[in-house]
Symmetry: C4
Subunit: 264 residues, 4 copies
């Protein structure tokens, strides 16, 4: 039990004074960054010798990540102390972070069991990058952001829905306007939808844009509306963060009224 508690303290390090825990965190984060670099580097044409080094890094990483995963599952009963060990571990295994941890190591083991096409495998390997979220696990900032977005979910979804509708309406309109002038560019409503996305989000790659007067007027309206519709989610989120601050202020004020100074 004592060893378990110590391991738990190391891998769930919230204490800045915990030297071994900090070293452990440093190793994991370094490994994740090395893995990100190799994932990107693998897409370049590389000499055989570098590929071999990458294979070694891959194997070492997977061993360490697997060991970490096993230790996390083993010590999971210390997180949910009220549950019995089996339930606690199962609860942990199905938590968001644990699923990501498993997905980061699975692509290595799967080909040993089922022969899968290597190409597909490589695409799966990027999930490993999600482990970078672990860096944030210890910070409360990300959870604050997530909380704000969650509270404003219905408003954000509504505004996105409106944008989505406007995109479809404008793309069908644009297809009808531009199709005769540019039959190759505005081939179908999907091409027009691609234009609508580029215009609404103000990305504007420049591969597709209207050339007719009517098309340009519609595009102008959409681009200006697009800005308005960027402003709405920003406004929602701003208000959400303000609310958050006021809430936490209220919690601080529990004892004294900040306005009159009377004890409550």
């Amino acid at each position: 039990m004592k060893i378990k508690q110590r391991i738990y303290n190391i891998i769930n390090d919230n204490d800045k004074k915990n030297t071994i825990g900090n070293i452990f965190d440093g190793i994991i984060i370094t490994l994740i960054i090395i893995n990100i670099i190799t994932v990107i580097a693998e897409t370049f044409r590389l000499p055989e010798s570098v590929k071999n080094i990458f294979n070694i890094i891959e194997i070492v990483s997977v061993i360490i990540f697997t060991a970490e995963y096993i230790l996390r599952v083993w010590t999971a009963d210390l997180i949910y102390k009220k549950l019995n060990p089996v339930k606690a571990r199962l609860k942990y295994i199905f938590s968001f972070m644990a699923i990501i941890d498993l997905l980061a190591i699975l692509p290595f083991y799967i080909p040993f069991i089922i022969p899968v096409d290597l190409r597909v495998l490589r695409a799966l390997r990027i999930i490993r990058l999600l482990r970078i979220f672990k860096v944030n696990r210890y910070t409360s900032a990300l959870s604050t952001i997530a909380e704000v977005l969650k509270r404003k979910k219905s408003q954000l979804i509504s505004s996105i829905l409106v944008v989505f509708l406007l995109m479809i309406v404008s793309s069908v309109l644009m297809y009808n306007i531009e199709n005769t002038a540019q039959p190759d560019t505005f081939k179908n409503a999907f091409s027009a939808l691609w234009w609508a996305v580029a215009t609404f989000t103000t990305v504007g790659y420049g591969d597709i844009y209207p050339v007719t007067v009517l098309g340009k007027i519609l595009s102008a309206v959409i681009a200006i509306l697009g800005i308005g519709l960027v402003a709405v989610p920003t406004g929602i989120i701003s208000a959400g963060f303000m609310e958050q601050i006021e809430k936490s202020d209220d919690d601080d004020k529990k004892e004294y009224c900040p306005y009159c100074g009377h004890k409550l």
Copy 2:
């Protein structure tokens, strides 16, 4: 009367426990999404067999939407109970959602009465997509957004007017600056206006941009001003959402002072 009340409850479903109402909503939403997909798909080159399926979908959709529209009008007297049935129905017919509902089915019936060019018809059909707003009818989020935008209407219109004026002034200036260097691109003030929209909204397709030193300086000023002018509506909307939150907080606080806890 009893049947009418039940139908009203089903089609104006606000109760999550109302199973039949939920199924009805599900069917309508699914139909709308199918219609969106067919509207986009129709712009692709399709084999005759698929076109036939689309025609069947079209007919089925219009029948269901028409039935729904008639039922909504019929039960409209239950919404405005204080008005007499005829007035209540007329009031409903001229409400925003009812007009959209009618516009979604009208393009199907019009050619039976007046022979209209099919091409025009297809463009009209996209109005049907507006029905997706029905999905939001039940959520209060969209109405909150609409309320905020409404309250800030005068400020938003003012800021858009300023942007509009700046666009025109800068486009006439830009036409005079760039016309000699690029007579084909900056043909007239309308071309320059198209540039102004692309620059102000930061879309920047890349089909039109200044090449002279003076033109580039003006473009830089406009692009930077453009960002400032995006910030203003965002600020207005943010403040609007904050105000909204504080207002609803105030409503909650009616009974007790949230600061001292004294009963009011």
Copy 3:
């Protein structure tokens, strides 16, 4: 005196019930919009007959605008009642709106006095568009926006200064990085500055962009910083609008404490 007061009421119409005042406003606004359209249309190749119509519109507009300007100056002593008539009129003549009004009619009269090149004149004519601000003169919304921007002036200028510095630093850096790879595109630091503006403001026309690895990394850093630096003025302005709302709320609350309901 009585006629003067009536004319003053018509041209400074703030009363919605003032029918003649509303008609007068409508005529002026319509004329301004017609003038905007002609300014843009004049840049197109037009037949002689249309040009003649435009000339007539020009003369009629200038006559009406001149009459309006004279009447405004004449009745200016009713605005500043405490000043003597001459001082009141001089004060009005040097007010922002009066200068704009004068600038809108001057380009027509100047060539009668000094023979000026017609080309220059046409460029000056766009000042006439500034008269559209008159539409807003009657709305308090624009003045609220102006007030917020004014109060936050020092913060906004500071953030723009930082952006400006970053643009210059990054453009000199980018010139040194990209000059050897693209000597024609990145000719000098001014070309690079043009790139910096397009990147910071996220316009991205696509006429100039880095091709080297180092250049792309710098461009990525600048683009991400650019977003951050858009967020700062937006945040400043948002906070400014919130402050504005709270201030006007405070004014309303003067009599009763909104928290306890006690009379003050």
Copy 4:
């Protein structure tokens, strides 16, 4: 001691009535702006005569800046009065503004000590531009902005980290999707990362964009997410500025309750 105090007052001029201090500030700011112009102008092809003038400007500037730096270090003991003179000067030398001041003059002196390639030197010279921050040293606005950004640092870094992760994940995905269709454009994950930056920041130069249907769908998702992720830092910063205003309001309110007016 008296001369030292007077020099200190001149170079650390916070008093608007201090005429000599204002002149000194004016000279330094003018010199910085002249230096910015020469740094940019030097990248153009210039005749020998202009180059000579630039050399003279360079030498004069460095002399003045060096004198200013020495005076600042000499009078540094008046800033930190509690420390002994040596410690005070060392503390000043390692302050942010003093390091920038030193970096602005060092590139001139280095080649006299170590023979460095002139090309590298020219790139270093841009650091001199950082001196423009001195203009802001006297305004509190920039420090307010810096304070807000500092307070929200953890939230901003978290949101940037999420964007960074999404960029890497999406670029590896995009590389796999587009590589076969555009092997020259999407050469490797680095090319795809360049695309991800251009899309997330909505710059969209147009040198790289997806052409496959799957690639366009991914790009649309990324562009829309990109807008959402711009909204988050904006919201954080907005809330930060609001908090700042409320804090300074609270400081004003210390003596009287702003709601009831009771003395505290």
